[in-house]
């Protein structure tokens, strides 16, 4: 076909003349580049609905278009599933190419993700990168290979089994009753609507909602002595709380807001509102700011902050004298021996502890 036969006069404001046959082909390319895969039926629906095309293509024309795109450098897979034909654009020349520096950086990032237990993002990241960029001189699976170990990485077999079990409860939305060992060695029976198992600060937690308070809670898996399933299903999402706090001094001048925070600046500093379903996590961050931060509302968060501060103060005073004496004995009185000085003198023992 000549160009002339395919020209189409637009009546749009630009009054552009285009080649309609090429336009159809490139439109199919555009659709394929923006979808995971497309059936012939879907393709034709898009073509019919496009005001400049307004018709389906025959299988012969479609084959010609696909052949043209392949000649251009597109990798197009033809898949068949339940009597339907699908096309998938797995690679094409217009994707941005990764530089070697970027590729190495992404590979290192992928390895860090891999080392994080339960990081679902490791797997997702490894799939996303090749979809977004051409990988130079590397097999397409270079990222996927980095994730062979995936979720189990960083966990012992025993921990992994426990995690899997709790993940199953989360998936099934099963309410649990747990026997929880508190830090003061008391035991408490608690209920939780489990949501997910998370890994944070080198510990595994079961996160979910307390069905009584409707607040988000988390319990370290190591502190759960036993558990049983209750004949109830998870009911609703945890309640979100809007916490308002004030920042003053240098911190107010250099504060970088967290996602979703609304900030009002005034003479005293900043008044920030943060909406969260994990007040405990927010309070831990706010503690870091010391006296430059004050929670204004709600009262429950103020009380929790006060409890945390008092708990820290109380613990700081506890049995300090004996330990100070023990651990300073070597620093201050050179050569003196104390019954606990063993811990100072035996780095090998310490390494064993660190490897625990």
């Amino acid at each position: 076909m000549s160009d002339g036969k395919n020209r189409l006069e637009f009546t749009s404001m630009d009054e552009m003349t285009i080649n309609i046959s090429a336009f159809r082909l490139l439109y199919i390319y555009k659709l394929l580049s923006q979808a995971v895969e497309l059936s012939i039926q879907d393709l034709n629906t898009h073509l019919i609905n496009h005001p400049l095309i307004d018709r389906a293509v025959t299988s012969e024309t479609l084959n010609k278009y696909i052949h043209t795109l392949r000649l251009f450098g597109c990798k197009i897979e033809r898949l068949e599933n339940q009597n339907q034909v699908f096309f998938r654009l797995s690679d094409h020349p217009l994707k941005p190419e990764l530089s070697l520096l970027e590729m190495n950086a992404l590979k290192n990032i992928a390895e860090i993700l891999q080392q994080q237990p339960l990081s679902i993002y490791a797997n997702q990241f490894s799939k996303l990168v090749p979809r977004l960029a051409v990988l130079p001189d590397a097999p397409d699976s270079w990222l996927l290979n980095a994730f062979e170990v995936t979720l189990q990485s960083g966990l012992s077999q025993e921990d992994y089994q426990v995690v899997k079990q709790f993940q199953k409860y989360c998936f099934e939305g099963q309410v649990l009753e747990i026997r929880h060992l508190n830090h003061d060695h008391t035991m408490e029976v608690k209920r939780i609507e489990p949501r997910q198992v998370i890994y944070e600060k080198k510990s595994l937690y079961l996160s979910g909602k307390d069905p009584l308070t409707h607040k988000k809670v988390r319990y370290a898996l190591t502190q759960i002595l036993s558990h049983r399933q209750l004949p109830h299903r998870v009911q609703s999402q945890p309640v979100k709380v809007s916490v308002t706090f004030k920042l003053t001094g240098r911190l107010a001048a250099s504060y970088r807001p967290y996602p979703g925070e609304s900030i009002v600046s005034n003479e005293e500093g900043l008044t920030i509102t943060h909406v969260t379903d994990e007040v405990d996590v927010l309070i831990r961050r706010l503690l870091k700011y010391g006296p430059s931060c004050q929670i204004l509302s709600p009262e429950s968060a103020r009380k929790e902050m006060l409890n945390q501060i008092e708990h820290l103060l109380e613990k700081m005073r506890e049995d300090l004298d004996i330990l100070t004496e023990v651990f300073l004995s070597k620093e201050q009185t050179d050569g003196s021996r104390h019954k606990w000085a063993y811990y100072y003198d035996s780095p090998q023992t310490m390494d064993d502890v660190a490897a625990d």
Partner: protein, 316 residues
């Protein structure tokens, strides 16, 4: 249909698109390429080129007109033949940034951010600018565009213990100029920092690199030696962490030694040296478990004072 049948016009437009996606080209340069390409082998008229460009524009491409300023070249500023990013994809990118923002190699993170910027800028999504903004807001990463050369030079100076004079945009005091002995560049919580010893500062300082306006070597051996000595002075700290084991311990500083607590298997005692007790205080307050400062007494007193001041905010 013959097995090798293809749409010649579409093929030419695709080739044009690919070339323009790499660099701006003039009418003559485009024709030169058409002629050299075996599967095309001929030039086109100006009218036909306009037809091709109009076809691309109708698909959503943005091509600027040739002007004297750009050497009469056609420049492709956007094309839609790209991935459509879903909110789940953006979540993966954001969480990748959050999970790796303590990574020791800041260059990996710089190139990761550059890649994210490049990918998001070329997306098929119409709201790509909003997505880019959202990525930086939610990951809390600071943009490092154009800082690579500065980072490279700062690292060089840190490695060679070169004293610098730095012009710094302080969030509180505005622009300040001072002498600074750099120790290292590092990435933390989405920002790049230069750690080192500032003139007239008792403790080490962390300067945000995007706020360094200017820097140059400073020749003052006496000051250099003094700041170097200050950098070497590291205070010993001994801290007991409650409900913390060697397995769950998250570093409070550098070069720590962990000891079992003789009074309880649930606790550990950490011995470390630090040059900046402000940062150590921050880390302890947000550590998530109670602690006791066994040494030095001055830091224990300071921490008590801080906690008492904090308590007053809720009891006064």
């Amino acid at each position: 249909m013959k097995p090798d049948s293809f749409n010649q016009t579409a093929y030419r437009i695709l080739s044009l698109l690919l070339w323009l996606s790499k660099e701006p080209l003039s009418f003559d340069e485009i024709n030169q390429r058409f002629k050299e390409r075996n599967t095309i082998g001929k030039t086109v008229s100006q009218d036909t080129l306009w037809l091709y460009l109009n076809t691309l524009k109708a698909l959503g491409c943005k091509v600027s007109r040739p002007t004297k300023r750009n050497g009469f070249r056609y420049q492709l500023t956007y094309h839609p033949f790209n991935y459509f990013l879903t909110s789940d994809d953006l979540e993966v990118m954001k969480n990748t940034a959050l999970l790796t923002n303590h990574h020791h190699d800041h260059w990996d993170l710089i190139y990761f951010v550059k890649w994210v910027q490049r990918v998001l800028a070329s997306l098929a999504n119409e709201n790509r600018d909003t997505l880019l903004q959202k990525f930086f807001e939610e990951s809390r990463f600071v943009q490092t565009d154009g800082l690579e050369e500065s980072i490279d030079r700062l690292e060089h100076f840190a490695k060679h213990h070169q004293l610098l004079t730095i012009e710094y945009q302080s969030a509180i005091n505005g622009i300040k100029t001072f002498a600074f002995l750099p120790l290292k560049v590092f990435f933390d919580q989405g920002s790049l920092y230069l750690l080192g010893q500032a003139e007239d500062q008792g403790q080490t300082s962390m300067l945000r690199i995007d706020r360094i306006k200017n820097f140059s070597p400073l020749n003052n051996p006496e000051l250099q030696q003094r700041l170097n000595e200050q950098l070497q002075e590291r205070q010993l700290f001994i801290i007991r962490l409650f409900n913390c084991t060697a397995k769950t311990y998250e570093p409070l500083g550098e070069g720590e030694i962990l000891y079992p607590d003789p009074t309880s298997p649930n606790n550990i005692v950490v011995r470390l040296r630090s040059q900046n007790d402000f940062l150590l205080k921050q880390r302890l307050l947000s550590y998530g478990t109670p602690f006791q400062i066994l040494y030095p007494g001055s830091f224990d007193y300071e921490m008590h004072q801080t906690l008492r001041q904090m308590r007053e905010l809720y009891t006064a």
